[in-house]
């Protein structure tokens, strides 16, 4: 055995998991794989962003962003999602430190804020459709509903995942695989907030200020 192998402990199975020369631990592999999935999700959203940016002027005589967007609602939605991203991070810390009350209360806060965001968005959509500005009205509105609705679907899926994680921690405790799922959920939730930053800037702020 060479000195290098002895120093890196390549033949010691307990150390192999921690060195750069061997396999990474499962938590790192799972987190990294999920990170790559999230990046592919961001790329999918960028295609919707590109579609929206191309079609933003094609209102076909219908209403544009200036008439449709209410920045007060958007501000509330943004605040809900930003604070929920923060509480989601706290929930991750609660899970890492095996603190049950912290984890459950932070996850519950995340759920309430996420549901509030979703409620505000659905009310906005219903309001627009009631005023004849549904997705079939113009190419601009088709692109708008696709882009914002896709983000809303992601938030819905995230809320279902959040409840699943709370149930799994309740039923199975802080097992290593459950903690990995909590980590992936938090990454997912933070990424949704990053996409929302691009969304409220490109769609709402630039659209309303035209």
């Amino acid at each position: 055995m060479t000195t290098f192998e002895a120093a890196t402990g390549r033949d010691d199975p307990n150390r192999v998991a921690r060195t750069a020369s061997g396999l990474a631990s499962k938590r790192i592999l799972v987190g990294y794989g999920f990170w790559i999935f999230l990046l592919s999700d961001i790329i999918m959203f960028s295609a919707f962003f590109a579609t929206y940016a191309v079609l933003v002027g094609q209102t076909a005589g219908g209403p544009g962003g200036q008439e449709l967007f209410h920045l007060r609602t958007v501000g509330l939605e943004t605040a809900c999602l930003l604070v929920s991203s923060f509480t989601c991070g706290l929930a991750n810390i609660g899970a890492q430190t095996y603190n049950r009350i912290w984890f459950y209360s932070a996850m519950a806060a995340t759920f309430i804020l996420g549901a509030a965001f979703l409620g505000l968005e659905l009310r906005e959509f219903a309001d627009m459709i009631a005023h004849g500005a549904g997705p079939t009205r113009s190419a601009f509105l088709s692109a708008f509903f696709t882009l914002v609705g896709c983000h809303g679907l992601h938030v819905t899926a995230g809320l279902l995942w959040l409840l699943t994680m709370m149930a799994q921690v309740f039923a199975k405790g802080y097992r290593a695989d459950i903690l990995r799922r909590v980590l992936c959920f938090c990454l997912f939730w933070h990424t949704l907030d990053i996409i929302w930053v691009g969304l409220f800037t490109v769609v709402y702020l630039m659209g309303a200020g035209q």
């Binding site: 002895a6 120093a7 890196t8 402990g9 150390r15 921690r18 060195t19 750069a20 020369s21 990474a24 938590r27 790192i28 799972v30 987190g31 990294y32 999920f34 990170w35 790559i36 990046l39 592919s40 961001i42 790329i43 960028s46 295609a47 962003f49 590109a50 579609t51 940016a53 191309v54 920045l71 501000g75 943004t78 605040a79 930003l82 604070v83 991203s85 923060f86 991070g89 706290l90 991750n92 810390i93 890492q96 430190t97 980590l183 938090c186 990454l187 933070h190 990424t191 907030d193 990053i194 930053v197 691009g198 409220f200 800037t201 490109v202 702020l205 630039m206 309303a208 200020g209």
Partner: protein, 133 residues
């Protein structure tokens, strides 16, 4: 030999995105990082909303300012919420992110570029319809 810890001095251990380094996994530090992120993100959001409606700055510069603020806020989210850092334990995560950003850039800029050229070079749609009659 017994006091030698592999991965600590000579070799860097990778970490998952969203994880802090094992040595500094203290609760208070984690919460502090999230609080800093929340504060910076709130500040940037408020500035964004203020800039979008203001008449204080030159009108055509507002979209540029909004883009810069949004990119800055995405950076804040990446660093303080997703814990993507420039540290040696984060090389894989940053490389994946860089590739993702490249594809996003190509997709958005490429689409806008191509469609703007098509708009510029093609006959308006109603004239094409008339020719087909």
């Amino acid at each position: 030999m017994s006091d030698f810890e592999p991965g600590k001095d000579l070799y860097h251990v990778d970490i998952a995105p969203g994880d802090v380094h094992q040595d500094e996994g203290e609760t208070t530090e984690g919460v502090t990082s999230y609080l800093i992120g929340l504060g910076l993100a709130t500040l940037l959001t408020i500035v964004s909303f203020f800039v979008s409606g203001t008449t204080l700055v030159w009108g055509p510069s507002i979209p540029v300012a909004l883009s810069v603020l949004a990119i800055a806020q995405m950076g804040v989210h990446l660093v303080f919420f997703l814990k993507i850092t420039t540290g040696p334990d984060n090389v894989n995560n940053v490389m994946a992110l860089a590739f993702g950003v490249l594809i996003v850039f190509l997709l958005i800029v490429g689409s806008l570029w191509i469609m703007a050229h098509l708009n510029h070079n093609m006959m308006p749609m109603d004239q094409i319809m008339q020719m087909q009659r």
